[in-house]
């Protein structure tokens, strides 16, 4: 049963120490929920970037919310390195578990299928694998002469979080072709979603919209948050705000600049976010 609450209540559902999965930076990133987590001073999060992190995880790291992350990469794309991430990794304020994109997708698919591990080709001989004690290389277990292969343990986050353009009153949520969101929700114990708006039409009533819809079965709670992915972009709703992200990249280069950013953009909006 999906419940409808506000963003601040949604953030309250994520306790200190939770393991959360966040989608990649091009779209569907729940920035308003991330700001909510920072406002309520959430601590010791483990964050899984699926598979690449950006401004959302950089903000969480800089605000001291994160204990550990797993990602194939973290960057601000055209705006360069993610400054709080690079600083925190070099100074060892957080633990970084380096991975590679298909390993994250595959390990989530293991949880999606309810199996304890999944094989993946390639990767053997990479130092990523050399530094991952939880990964195993085995000889072709079926004895068909295919050589060694990597096994990845299933990843099961406590929460998958994302922001979508649209939900319906039954709690079904539009994901379009960003189908890793489905895998993330299937794999996680709970899924929390913010949406631009809620429609009276049932998204599953029409085959065309049903094909791009995540059913309410997988979704625990939804909050309406107009502009909830900003300053990042949201497919078919708004483009990423390049100037805002450039300003963030510049400010976040120093501790004091980052604190100013938080004061200007996150702590001041508390009232607005609660509405």
């Amino acid at each position: 049963m999906t419940t409808f609450i506000n963003v601040s209540e949604l953030a309250d559902l994520i306790p200190n120490g939770a393991y959360i999965a966040i989608p990649p930076e091009y779209s569907f990133v729940p920035m308003e929920l991330v700001r909510g987590l920072i406002r309520r001073n959430t601590k010791n999060l483990s964050v899984l970037c699926v598979p690449i992190g950006g401004m959302a995880v950089d903000l969480l790291i800089g605000a001291g919310c994160v204990k550990q992350i797993e990602a194939a990469a973290v960057s601000l794309g055209e705006n360069g390195l993610a400054p709080r991430f690079t600083d925190a990794v070099v100074s060892k304020k957080i633990k970084m578990m380096d991975s590679t994109c298909p390993a994250i997708h595959t390990a989530l698919q293991a949880s999606e299928k309810g199996v304890p591990f999944m094989p993946l080709g390639g990767i053997i001989g990479s130092d990523i694998q050399a530094h991952r004690d939880d990964w195993r290389i085995v000889d072709d277990p079926l004895g068909n002469g295919n050589g060694p292969i990597l096994l990845l343990p299933a990843i099961q986050p406590d929460f998958t979080i994302f922001h979508s353009p649209l939900a319906d009153r039954s709690g079904n949520v539009w994901v379009g072709r960003q189908r890793e969101l489905l895998t993330m929700a299937h794999a996680a114990k709970q899924t929390l979603v913010t949406v631009e708006r809620i429609t009276d039409e049932n998204l599953l009533a029409n085959e065309q919209t049903a094909a791009g819809t995540m059913p309410a079965l997988y979704i625990n709670a939804i909050a309406e948050a107009e502009g909830g992915a900003k300053p990042l972009g949201l497919t078919d709703c708004y483009e990423r705000d390049g100037d805002a992200i450039r300003d963030y990249a510049a400010q976040a280069k120093t501790d004091s600049g980052f604190d100013d950013y938080l004061a200007q953009h996150i702590y001041t909006n508390t009232q607005q976010a609660a509405q």
Binding site: C101, G122, I123, T235
Partner: protein, 247 residues
Amino acid sequence: MNYKPEELLISVAASLLNTPDIQHVAVGAASPIPGAAALLAQKLGGGELDVTIIHGSANNTFTDGGRELFDCAGQGRVHAFFLGGVQIDGQANINLVGTGNYPDLERRFPGSFGSAYMYFTVPNVILFRPEHSRRVFVEKVDFISAPGVSDPGIQRTGGPKAMITGLCLMSFNAEKAQFKLESVHPGHSVEEVLDNTGFEIDIPENVLTTAVPSDEHLKLLRAEIAPEIAKTYPGFAASVFNIKSAA
């Protein structure tokens, strides 16, 4: 016609994609020059070349989420891909993670992305690194995001074929695990390449000069490719082609 350094690199990369072996090129994250090259090669090939630009929805026909690129490569359906490196060594090992003794890094870079998989599954990986210096082209990388070659017995259908830098074009011989200098860009010399490379390169007797982009290609690039790549990389398109994205 005058051209910018980026336009030369786009033209060199596009020329590597115009071969019958390559029917589908995919372009990953943070790759504006490879993305423009793929779109140029597609135009020059009369639209026969399939191009997938992963970042965002422009020029991206994938519908199965983030995993589709890797599944598609695993199926053998991605014939060319571009990878870079903070460091690249003479065996074509690439490092996208950082410098120093991992995990005690001196400098941290974004991370390995999908390199450790794409390098094994895409038959024509083109390494791309405009900065040609000894800090990039090292004898041995500090961290192997993806290995250039593998032992026999390891399943591997892909690997590096060529490398484009700001100074030259090289090919890679997997059996010898060595790069060979193919051509030096106009205005640069073999000596300059050697001075700025920290590993051994096979130098043939006659090294060609890289072909400059033709006027026709430059016009196509500026008029048709630039607005297209701006949909994915607005900052790049603004700085190189001086256009504002309509997207």
